[in-house]
């Protein structure tokens, strides 16, 4: 029995060796996960607007290899990001840092929203005021409305009468 198990183990040995060779990058899954998480927020400079984690270009492979090495050396994510920004500039970050030059980028949309809201408020207030003014009826309009409400005359008769009034005047 023991002999047979040993035999199986010996036979499986080459399989284990091959398996290890096939996945050299995943030797440390924890670091690999960190590499992928970090490079998801980094731009691949040769295949722009693709993330480093999603690219198979030489550039992306090199940078990922470098990130992996630095992580094995125990560098923090921030140290690695600083290293890359120093070489490739802020452009490598998908999320640009808040700086004087990026203020408009970050707060521009908010500024536009504020401008839009102000314009909307002004327009609404203006419209309100103009409708308020037209709501007040003059004395003759009042009389006319009163007559209509009491059903003494229909709208058509009223306009006919107005027309004939004007005809008289002419």
């Amino acid at each position: 029995m023991i002999h047979r198990m040993l035999l199986v183990l010996v036979l499986l040995l080459p399989v284990a060796v091959v398996a290890k060779e096939a996945v050299p990058l995943a030797e440390d899954p924890q670091i690999e996960a960190r590499v992928m998480a970090l490079s998801a927020n980094l731009r691949c400079l040769v295949c722009q607007n693709q993330a480093l984690s999603a690219s198979e270009s030489d550039f992306a492979n090199d940078v990922r290899r470098e990130i992996r090495l630095m992580m094995k050396e125990g560098k923090s994510d921030q140290q690695i990001i600083d290293f890359l920004v120093q070489r490739y500039g802020d452009f490598i970050l998908f999320k640009p840092p808040v700086k004087n030059i990026t203020l408009l980028l970050w707060f521009g949309p908010l500024l536009l929203l504020l401008i839009g809201a102000t314009i909307l408020l002004l327009v609404l207030r203006h419209r309100n005021r103009s409708t308020e003014g037209s709501q007040r009826l003059s004395a003759s309009e009042h009389q006319r409305a009163e007559a209509l409400l009491q059903g003494q005359v229909t709208e058509r008769e009223m306009t006919a009468r107005d027309d004939s009034d004007e005809g008289h005047r002419a």
């Binding site: 722009q48 030489d58 940078v63 920004v85 070489r87 490739y88 500039g89």
Partner: protein
């Protein structure tokens, strides 16, 4: 009356400003990422020489001189189109040109130079691309103008053209040499 006109002029004005910015954007090359290394010290390196691997070349050897560092590789297609310009430049003897042979096989690189001519004072071998990474190389060819104090003053991304040389690189080199 003025208010009425403003209703049309203000949006029209905004539109014109927007078209201006967007139109400018059409003429920018998104592949040209401004290098953060401009006006910063060139990253120091020491590498084996391509033709004499037993000798080293260190960037600090170049202090006190204005020089060009050209990143190239035999596998790089645009390097081939750039090459005659560099050969021409080296004949003029205005500024020393050094090569950084980037992620290349030395035998391939030497064969390439034998084939097309060698414009470099010497080339260094950056086989694993680590020095290239320090310089923020992301597309080959790239060319750096480095001044007497070892500061990077200009970076040409992509091939050096006759125009770039005449209008930008050589005037800058002369200015730096004079200072």
């Amino acid at each position: 009356m003025i208010r009425q006109r403003l209703r049309y002029l203000v949006p029209l004005g905004l539109f014109v400003i927007m078209v201006g910015f967007l139109g400018r954007g059409l003429f920018l090359d998104p592949r040209e990422v401004p290098s953060p290394l401009i006006d910063k010290p060139a990253p120091a390196f020491e590498l084996n020489q391509l033709h004499n691997p037993q000798y080293r070349f260190a960037s600090r050897d170049m202090l006190g001189q204005v020089w060009l560092l050209n990143v190239w590789a035999s596998w790089c297609v645009s390097c081939r189109s750039e090459h005659p310009v560099l050969v021409q430049l080296s004949r003029q003897n205005i500024v020393p040109l050094y090569g950084l042979n980037y992620k290349d096989k030395p035998s391939d690189a030497i064969a390439w130079l034998n084939d097309l001519g060698d414009p470099y004072r010497l080339s260094t071998t950056d086989t694993d691309g680590r020095v290239g990474m320090d310089y923020g190389v992301y597309g080959v060819p790239e060319t750096y103008v480095i001044d007497k104090q070892g500061i990077i003053r200009y970076k040409q991304i992509g091939p050096v053209t006759v125009e770039a040389l005449k209008n930008t690189i050589l005037p800058l080199v002369r200015e730096l040499q004079a200072s």
